[in-house]
Structures are given as C-alpha cells and as structure tokens.
Amino acid sequence: MTNDNSKVMVRVENLKKHFPIKKGVFGNKQVGAVKAVDGVSFDIYQGETLGLVGESGCGKSTTGRTLLQLYKPTAGKVYYHDQDLTDIKPEEMRQNRRNMQMIFQDPYASLNPRMTIGQIISEPLVVHGLGDRKERLAQTEELISKVGLNPFFKDRYPHEFSGGQRQRVGIARALALRPEFIVCDEAISALDVSIQAQVVNLLEDLQEEFDLTYLFIAHDLSMVKHISDRVAVMYLGKLVELTERQELYDNPLHPYTQALLSAVPIPDPIKEKQRNRVILTGDVPSPSHPPEGCNFNPRCPIAEDICRREDPEWRMAAPGHWVACHLVN
C-alpha cells in the first residue's frame, strides 16, 4: 500500500511535548519537565493505518494529542496536507477538526455521563452548525446503525451500555464529521478480548467505506499486527523503529523491538524454538529524568559505551526502514 508515490497526509517533524513540573508558593517556579514526547518524526500516508506501539507511559497518547493540537507542542511541526497545524489560528484549527478526529481508550471516561448517546453523537454536527434539527437526527440515527447499535437507543445514557457498545458510540462520534484521519488511542485496549476483534473489524470496515487514515495506538505488538500497514515503536518519548508491518515482524532491527516481539508467541513451533528470546530487565526510567545517551541503554542487552554517551540518530537503515540505534549498520 505504501510506496514512493503514496501521498503523505500528515508529516510530524521533531515533535516535542514537555509537561512542566512546577513548585513554589505561587506554583510558578519550574523545577523540571516530564519529557512525554521528546522529538519524534514520522509520516502518515493517505489511506494507511500506522500502528504506534510502546509500553504504557512512553508517550503514545501525548503524541496523538499533540499531533491533533489538543496539547500545544513544546517544539516541532505537524503538517496536514502541507498546512502547518502548529502555526495556525485557533479558529482555523477548530474548522480543521472536521477532518481529523480521535477515538479514546476508556469507554467509561470518554462519554459525558450526563448526555444521551444521541446528544453525544450529534454534538459534532451541532458544534459545526451542520444541517438542521431533522437532518441531524437522521444522520445521528444513521451513524448509530453504522457502528452496529440500534438507533432506538439514542435517548439512553452511556451507563446503560456495555464497554464495547460505548466504544461504538465513541466511534460514531468520531465519524460524525466525516473526517479523513482518525487517531485511535488504544481504542481496543480496555475491551474484552472477544470484543476487541469485533471492534477492529468495525474499524476496518469503516476505513474501507470512508477512505479513512488511522494512527492506531496500542501498548503491545499483537494488537496492531492485524490492522496496521506500517508500525512505529516508541520508547520513553522517542521512536526507536518504524517500518512496514511484515518487515518489522520478520526483521526487527532495534533491540527493544526484538524484545517486544519475543513476548509475542509465534504459532509455528519450529520457529518458536529457533528464535532468540530477548528478555527485558529493569523498569522504564522516568520521563522527567531520561538517561544519558540512548534512552534504552540501561535495559539494552547489547549496549556499548557510545550508547551511554550519545543520542542515536533517527535514520533510514534500509529503504522505508527507520531505526534509532548506534549498533545497527
């Protein structure tokens, strides 16, 4: 799906988001910063699904939110069809939101408990003044059936639904404005395994029907394997590897990716036996005190001196295969 003439829809350049840690009587003395996202660069092609994987707390949600300008970036650029989103007026960005939407992780916290699901799903239309009352009602009912719920329930409140059903409501809300790009922030992580597959299938069907482009965030590789065209791996605020899905699973270059992959069981028993298992020890360091050099070096099984001194460069090691590691040729 992605080749040289694929069209870039979103280009992220050296994006950073640091949350200040404040102290003092007036809460105005900055004593440090949580470097939630610390310089990531990647492209998202029109029509693809880019998976973004990493352990919890590594900055995936912050990347998604900063990309959508829900957080003001500390540094870096986000281009959407060549328009720099970090440098436009709030009202212009508000209009842009019709094209880019988000599906959230927590099906309980992502729906306002005091609004009916009909109100929730039609709110995007209301906010942008689209259609009159009757048209909005018709559209809302259509959206509700699109995500596999019964329009009859539109006057019910979120707490009357199951987690999976609520997630469908969140999907309908994201679809209401007919966006072309959706950030799915762990959209399936909180659901039962049996429900996860259903929701992934729904997302795939919708992608086909509406020509959607996804940034699909998840905390383990098995969740993105099925849906992604390319996969990016994130560690402590930085990207460590990004390539085509099959290439990543067959030929992972970064030791962190290798470690993540060895946690994913391989169905073939011979391959399973042959492969090198990389077991990670220790915890992820705090993003307010990242280590010197490569962020991964304290846990890396093959780290050398240079890894403790210098930040590795984000570079293309093979065509379309990006990696940040000193020890990869």
Binding site: F26, G27, N28, R65, L68, L70, R94, Q95, R97, R98, Q101, M102, F104, Q105, D106, Y108, A109, S110, L111, N112, P113, R114, M115, E123, P124, V127, H128, H159, G170, R173, A176, L177
Partner: protein, 326 residues
Amino acid sequence: MTFGYVFKKLIKNPIAFIGLLLLLGFIIMAVWAPVFAPVPENARDPYMIPRDGFSAVPVPPNEDHILGTTEGQYDIFYGIIWGSRTAFRIGVVITLFTTLMGIMVGSVAAYYGGWIDEVLMRITEIFQTFPFLLTAITLTSVLQAVYGRGEAGALIYSAKILAFLTFGHSLAEKINPIQLTILTGMISIIMFGWMTIARVTRGNILTVKNYEYAIAAETIGAKNLRILFRHLMPNAIFPVLVIASMNIGSYVLTFAALSFLGLGAQRGYADWGQMISFARNWIPSLAEYSHIVIYPGMAILLFVLAWNLVGDALRDILDPRMRGTK
C-alpha cells in the same frame, strides 16, 4: 445518576429521611404560617410579632400564649411560626448568591488557568483569611451606617436586588427600613460566604477537565464556553450542591448571631435569632424564664440539623467512590 435516583436513595437512608421530614415540617410551617398563627387585624406588617401589653417581664407558657411571651410581651409561638419564613428566605437567598458566585469564580479559574487562576485564587484566599463571623458583624454595622447616611450608590442596587429576591419587592420600590437591616446582614454574609464553593468547584473542574470526554469535546471542535457549561460544570456541580445545602443551615445560624447582637433583624421582627436576643437581659434568671431561649433555640437547632442531615446523606450517596458503579 439522575435526580430521581438520588431522591430514592435519600428516602431509603434513615438519617436523610429524618432530615427530610424535619425540612418538610418547616416548609409546612412556613407555607401555612397565616393558618397556624393568624395575623392580627390591625397589623401593619405580618412579620412584626404581635405584642400583648408592654410589660418588660417575660410570661411563661399559658392559655393565651402557648409558648409564652418574651420581654415586651412578644408572642413566641407567632414568632417561631413566621420566623420559619424568614429563615428560608434568608438561607435560600444567601445560598443562591454564594453558590453562584463560588461556581463562577471557581470554574473560570479552573477552566482558564494561568494568571486568571492565580488572581482569582489569591483573592479567594484573602477573603478566607478574614474571620467570618467577626467580619460579618463589622461589615453589617458599617453597611448600616452607610445606608443610614443615604450615600450607598451601587450598594443600594445590590440591596434592591436582594430585596426583590428575598421579599418580592419591585426594584422601583424604596427599601423598607425594617428590612434594610436584614438586607445588610445578608450582604455581609454573601460577601464572605462564597469561598468554599469557589475552591471546591475549581478542584472538581480541574479533575473533570482531564477526563477523556472533556478532551473529546475539544476534539470535535466545541468552543470554550460550550465545553465549560455543557461538559465540565454539569459533572463538577453535584458535590457543590451538597455543600450548598449544608450552607443554608449555617447561614441561618450566622444570621441568628447577627440578630442576637442587634445587627440583623430589628426588635420584634419574626426572626429566631432576634427572639433569642431578648434573653440577653435575663441571663441571671434564665432558670425561671428558660422558655424565651429554648423554643426559638430549638427552632434554629432543628433547622440547621435538618439541612446538615440532608447534606450529609447527599454526600454519602454522591461519594466519588460510588460513582461509576451505579
């Protein structure tokens, strides 16, 4: 969690039930005051307690005055019945204002953050450093002096708005001097009674602001005010209402203290605190004339208790840990 659900829980909770029952009693008393304690024919103002003579010595309960009379022969029963109206009016109107002010200050501070938050919270803290009762006493006497000289200007308008809400007077009407003292007491309590609500509102909004549905609202392109009023406030406001309901009782108590000191309602006005103030001259012989303190005192006590019981039960029901379990 709907109002219906909360109400059902309230009725099932025995403590809340007692509170609700007490409140109901006071409401009945206030609504049918003219039935329980008919207004004498020649009375100019039904809120002035009728007198039966001018003797200074209180008279214990008897056939004509079932709860007795105070110094100056004011009928205690009449005063307690009509005093319930005063209590509701004062308590509810003060609470209305302090709650609105608190919610406004707290939510604007929390939603906009930055220097707006700084400034509003510093002001809130400054107001909080004043000792509430002492400040209310001082401010009331100052306000009464200012009004007395007729130089109040903007304050006159605030008093008129209060008079409209409390006594139903039109804004064009001149303020009745009997009510003026009550209004100045209320203004003092309002000016120094909104800070807790502001702080609690701010804290709640800050919490709700980070919920995914608030971020979702921004993602779909909702504007600031819509996010604040439609998504943040409705979800941050329940605990604030609990505090507001408890405040009604405590404001009435504070007002009673003002009246007791001669700063709230005028002599002879149907106000429980004012009635107790008659006892100031009889402290050495209270054993003999205990009825002049006990009955109005009971009224205040039960009124405050009722609101506290209801508020307490509301808080248990709305406890955040119970949220989401439904």
